[in-house]
């Protein structure tokens, strides 16, 4: 029997983001949101471990009230119970503040054998919250995991680094961050979605966790955002076209030699 907690983030669906080309500002107001991709892999892994060893899968998110839909998605995938940590004072929290709130929530929900996070969230892609949470909870951490197994009070995990792949072992309780390669997340059936609507979502505000207000939101964040703008693409934009493929290729080759990038 294992108790597993999966931290999920409600992220902006970056593939559907639009940019105002005049100002280079992103149109984020009603951009569609969803569970951050790798968090689904974390959920899937947790559910598979539960299916094998028995136990319970909890899920938690720190986010706005509408993050409830994200949690319903997680429940439909198979989580047993969900926690939404939501308070207007959390708005604009950076990873320092978010991990503080998340850690306080975990302490209140816990104890857990395993805590799973995504390697990074698809919108901010910072890969910070998992490692910061492990520090706050003082548990062993294995990051970038693409294969995981639990046996007794030990976890074995395979992770891919730039120059090698490592198999690591840690004692539970431990925190694991997973990559996309670890599994293929299931798509919930209609039945599962219906069942999920009956599962419990616990909602806690700052006061429920005795959160210090000066440690969250903009004031509690270490990093301040100045601007968020679409990148400028300064390219020459030359179109090379010939009558035949051969002619086009010749023109291209000439242009590239002129640029000095080939033929040296």
């Amino acid at each position: 029997m294992v108790r597993i907690l999966v931290c999920v983030k409600q992220a902006i669906d970056v593939s559907q983001l639009k940019v105002d080309s005049a100002t280079r500002r992103l149109i984020t107001v009603d951009a569609p949101k969803k569970i951050s991709d790798f968090d689904k892999n974390a959920l899937e892994e947790a559910i598979r471990i539960r299916e094998k060893l028995g136990g319970e899968v909890f899920t938690v998110t720190v986010g706005p009230e509408d993050a409830k839909t994200t949690l319903r998605e997680a429940l439909a995938m198979g989580a047993d119970k969900a926690y939404l940590i939501s308070d207007p004072i959390f708005e604009n929290s950076d990873t320092l503040a978010t991990s503080y709130v998340l850690a306080e929530a975990v302490k209140k929900i816990g104890p857990f054998d395993l805590i799973l996070c995504g390697e990074a969230s698809i919108d901010s892609f910072s890969a910070q919250v998992g490692p910061r949470l492990a520090e706050r909870l003082r548990v062993p951490l294995i990051t970038y995991v693409r294969k995981l197994s639990v046996e007794g009070d030990a976890v074995t995990a395979e992770r891919g680094l730039e120059d090698c792949s490592q198999t690591m072992k840690a004692k539970t309780p431990a925190l694991i961050t997973v990559t996309k390669e670890i599994n293929e997340p299931r798509i919930p059936s209609l039945m599962a979605i219906m069942k999920a609507s009956k599962k419990e979502i616990v909602i806690w505000a700052a006061a429920d966790l005795s959160i210090a207000s000066e440690k969250v939101g903009e004031a509690g964040s270490a990093v301040q955002v100045l601007t968020v703008l679409a990148p400028k693409m300064e390219r020459k934009k030359i179109v090379i076209k010939g009558e035949t493929a051969m002619e086009t290729a010749e023109k291209l080759a000439k242009a590239l030699i002129q640029e000095g990038v080939v033929g040296r």
Partner: protein, 291 residues
């Protein structure tokens, strides 16, 4: 806050630490402060001089058997103690996977901020450090400043240039090998090196990219051939690796970020997530059927 002085660089990757020294020198002169390299490892004392040649005005060395192979906790405890003791204002850490984890945990221990994967680091007219990074799947660049010190940033490979080696450079070496280090909380059971091909694409001067415009895996032979002629490497888009399982690696936001002199994208539409990984190429050629 003002008691924090100096810029530090650290990476477990040798090439990266030299690049960090290059950027660090520029920032140090702009911020009127000194540049220090941190060396953690075992039997590394004689490498300190090399770092001086590449721009470090000071090198802090922790030479300890516990640092023989990279394990986060001993490395982390060394950096945490050194930071508490010497109080740098800014730490530049190499943005490898190991480095990103280390930086995030260091920031957590020190209760400060960390901006990972910085594409650019500047100073503004108030003398603040301004960090830029890509967010929203390549759709945007966010610029950020810190509210507290030390400021921690991570910087990817091949972002900044290392300096020319200067054998005449003088620098101070500080030995901190007496630090008590924390033991590792995890155990490395097995290590398998990855084949070199998988990592070499960042180094290639020419990269030929192939995408969904190719119907058959066999057709990639012509790209391999072209790459050979031009002395380059072949890269792919993610669907070819993830959906078609033809290849293991891809170029882009969630894959390899490359900055060759020439990138030839064949049968690639140039979706934002892919472009995020090739944006820094000098010349980009796109061959496709899109008008």
């Amino acid at each position: 806050m003002s008691e924090h002085r100096g810029i530090w660089v650290y990476s477990e990757n040798r090439d990266l630490i030299l690049e960090l020294l290059g950027k660090g020198s520029e920032l140090a002169s702009k911020l009127h402060t000194r540049l220090t390299a941190v060396m953690l490892g075992h039997d590394v004392k004689d490498q300190a001089k090399e770092l001086v040649g590449y721009g470090a005005q000071k090198v802090i060395v922790v030479d300890n058997q516990q640092l023989q192979e990279f394990q986060v906790e001993p490395y982390l405890s060394a950096l945490t103690q050194l930071t508490h003791e010497h109080k740098p204002e800014l730490l530049l850490i190499g943005s490898t996977k190991r480095g990103k984890e280390l930086a995030a945990r260091l920031a957590a221990r020190l209760n400060v901020g960390c901006v990972p994967g910085c594409q650019e680091l500047k100073t503004d007219d108030q003398g603040r450090l301004v960090a830029e990074r890509i967010v929203y799947g390549g759709n945007a660049i966010v610029t950020q400043v810190f509210r507290m010190k030390p400021q921690i940033v991570t910087v990817p490979r091949r972002r900044f240039e290392k300096l020319e080696y200067n054998a005449e450079s003088q620098g101070e070496v500080i030995d901190e090998s007496e630090l008590q280090l924390e033991p590792a909380k995890t155990e490395i059971v097995e290590v398998k090196p990855v084949e070199t091909v998988e990592t070499k694409i960042e180094e290639a001067r020419v990269v030929i990219g192939g995408g969904r415009g190719f119907d058959k895996k066999e057709d990639f032979k012509i790209l391999d051939e072209l790459a050979q002629i031009l002395g380059g490497q072949v890269g792919y888009t993610r669907p070819l690796a993830e959906d078609r399982k033809w290849f293991k690696e891809w170029v882009g936001l969630s894959g390899h970020a490359i900055s060759p002199e020439l990138y030839i994208a064949c049968g690639i539409s140039g979706v934002i997530q892919h472009v995020a990984g090739i944006r820094d190429s000098k010349v980009i050629v796109a061959i496709n059927k899109d008008p």
